[in-house]
């Protein structure tokens, strides 16, 4: 029963990722082909999301943008989780001055309103989507550092760690074979719950012109581009928004079911 609850969201996420990966080959129309004869057409059977101001098929454009939108969100989560976990394990396991210093640094990062710092950082990098990914990851790592440090501290004094030490394992071996496998579940759950938020924040940065910029196909910047047409042709603006909503929903359902599964375990 419990497995079933997590099976469907997992399949959905897997399908979404495969779809996003191959998205450039899956568009029904050519993404960049302009046809001013069919400019700003309302949704129809031929164009289920309508066409934009240049007559490009919106559905194709939304599909084409899924790769960058989804994989850059995954990159944010991966980057901040790995940085945070490395620092967290280092601090938790070794303690001492390095621990104190790094934890004070993470305190300071946590004292910033996250998105504010990310907006400024992304704006200063001015490096397209990569700048936005780095900005969000550099703001997000302290949460992972805190989490993994706490988890390490609670497993550090377990008898099996002592046993590993007695049997002659060195620190690196203990971290990789004993500590990491024990704390990784909790971290993966947190990371999965963060994917949706990261996707929305990345889209927000691109929407503000601080992330992906045209011609890079990305949902946030597509919404920004067509904002002025909201009154005349709302479908151009709403279609990428709906794509964000569906994708974030899928990741959120997946994250929550994973959390429930893990908690029940």
């Amino acid at each position: 029963m419990r497995n079933k609850k997590i099976l469907i969201p997992s399949i959905l996420v897997a399908l979404l990722l495969i779809f996003a990966f191959f998205s450039p080959y899956l568009t029904p129309y050519n993404v960049s082909e302009q046809n001013l004869m069919i400019s700003r057409q309302a949704p129809s059977f031929a164009h289920i999301m309508g066409t934009d101001i240049y007559g490009r098929d919106m559905f194709s454009r939304v599909i084409a943008a899924s790769r960058i939108s989804i994989f850059s969100a995954l990159a944010v989560v991966l980057l901040m989780a790995i940085t945070g976990v490395v620092i967290g394990i280092f601090c938790g396991y070794l303690s001492g001055i390095a621990d104190t210093v790094l934890m004070r640094v993470s305190d300071i990062f946590l004292a910033f309103p996250g998105l504010v710092l990310a907006i400024a950082t992304a704006g200063l990098f001015k490096n397209g989507i990569l700048g936005a990914v780095i900005a969000l990851a550099s703001v997000g790592w302290p949460r992972y550092a805190r989490l993994s440090r706490g988890l390490v501290l609670s497993t550090k004094t377990s008898t099996y760690i002592y046993a590993a030490k007695l049997s002659g394992s060195n620190t690196v071996q203990i971290v990789f074979t004993q500590i990491l496998p024990n704390i990784i579940g909790q971290i993966i759950v947190t990371a999965c719950l963060d994917i949706g938020t990261s996707l929305m924040e990345l889209a927000a940065l691109s929407f503000l012109g601080l992330g992906a910029t045209p011609p890079t196909p990305e949902w946030g910047s597509m919404i920004n581009e067509s904002r002025s047409l909201l009154q005349l042709s709302p479908w151009i603006t709403l279609s990428p928004g709906i794509a964000v909503f569906i994708t974030v929903s899928v990741f959120n359902i997946f994250g929550e079911s994973l959390r429930d599964y893990y908690q029940a375990k």
């Binding site: 004070r104 910033f112 998105l115 704006g123 909201l230 909503f245 929903s249």
Partner: protein, 315 residues
């Protein structure tokens, strides 16, 4: 009481210094050449000799740490430099936009509480009923919608279709405030309804509630006088923490509705590479966030008798 506040204030000093250091370093290492940007903004082109002369004049050739300390001492005196673009002192410039952002944040927070508290409690009391399921679904949807998209949908429906409200803020009147407030509070409410629901459900199963029920005290009395009072601590913590995302969110919403606050100024400054203003923006927002969290901590004192009597906050 005062001793506690004093201690909290002292502990803030290293955090505030750290915040200022990180903000300054961020601009210092990622920002371009200040002199070039400044004259570009005015529209002039300078020869390399003149640029290096100007750099000398402005003290930009000094080591990083000296520049930082110099800048920090200035900030303490209320001098945050001069905007490259407008030529106005940044401190006063930001201060003039601050009330609008704080007004928007405050109204959003109030509306969020007005929406999420009753719905969260109701959802908890009737948990697993039809109402609860509807609320759950709606808040899930709200959690998966980016706020800039909500802003556009709301302005499409309320402003462009029904023509009830202006699309773009005209001044800072109530009518202009409705759409940005609604956008920010809908997104936050979706999150809070779920958290308040979970909080109230866990509180309702505690022994004191069962005891009160056994003594025949009305359910409403228990909820309003006991449960609400005890959960208010956690709710205040949540609100204080979310003030940070509110400040970030307001940058987005202010830009969509052209609300004349700090967030709109920040994005304009980023596009114009007006570094002193960007730096001041980050610094002000962080200070406000830290201050709001301090206020939340102090408010525990009034709400939690255990703390007042010298015990520890167990929440």
């Amino acid at each position: 009481m005062y001793k506690y506040i004093f201690k909290r204030l002292l502990s803030l000093i290293p955090i505030l210094i750290g915040i200022s250091f990180i903000s300054f370093a961020l601009i210092y290492f990622t920002g371009g050449d200040a002199v070039a940007v400044r004259y570009e903004a005015i529209g002039g082109v300078l020869s390399p000799e003149l640029i290096s002369q100007k750099r000398e004049e402005l003290g930009l050739n000094r080591p990083f740490i000296i520049q930082y300390i110099d800048w920090l001492l200035g900030v303490l005196k209320g001098d945050m430099g001069i905007s490259y673009v407008s030529g106005k002192p940044v401190f006063i410039y930001i201060l003039s936009k601050l009330p609008n952002t704080l007004l928007l944040s405050a109204t959003s927070l109030i509306v969020t509480i007005l929406i999420s508290l009753p719905l969260g409690i109701l959802s908890a009391i009737k948990s697993d009923g039809i109402f609860d399921h509807i609320i759950k679904t709606v808040s899930f949807i709200g959690n998966s919608l980016p706020n800039f998209f909500v802003a556009l949908v709301l302005s499409y429906i309320l402003a462009l279709r029904l023509k009830l409200l202006p699309v773009i803020s005209q001044g800072t009147g109530i009518k202009s405030l409705i759409l940005p407030t609604l956008t920010l509070s809908l997104a936050m409410s979706a999150k809070y309804i779920r958290q308040i629901r979970a909080l109230v459900i866990s509180e309702l199963s505690k022994p004191y509630v069962i005891g009160a029920r056994a003594r025949g005290i009305k359910e409403n009395t228990i909820i309003f006088f006991n449960v609400l009072r005890l959960t208010s601590l956690t709710i205040i913590t949540l609100m204080a923490l979310s003030f940070g995302s509110l400040l970030g969110g307001s940058a987005i919403v202010e830009n969509i509705f052209m609300w004349d606050g700090i967030g709109k100024l920040a994005i304009e400054s980023i596009n114009l590479r007006d570094y002193p203003v960007i730096l001041a923006y980050v610094l002000w927002m962080a200070f406000i966030y830290v201050f709001v969290n301090l206020l939340a901590d102090i408010s525990y004192y009034f709400l939690d008798p255990r703390l007042r009597l010298g015990g520890k906050n167990e929440k």
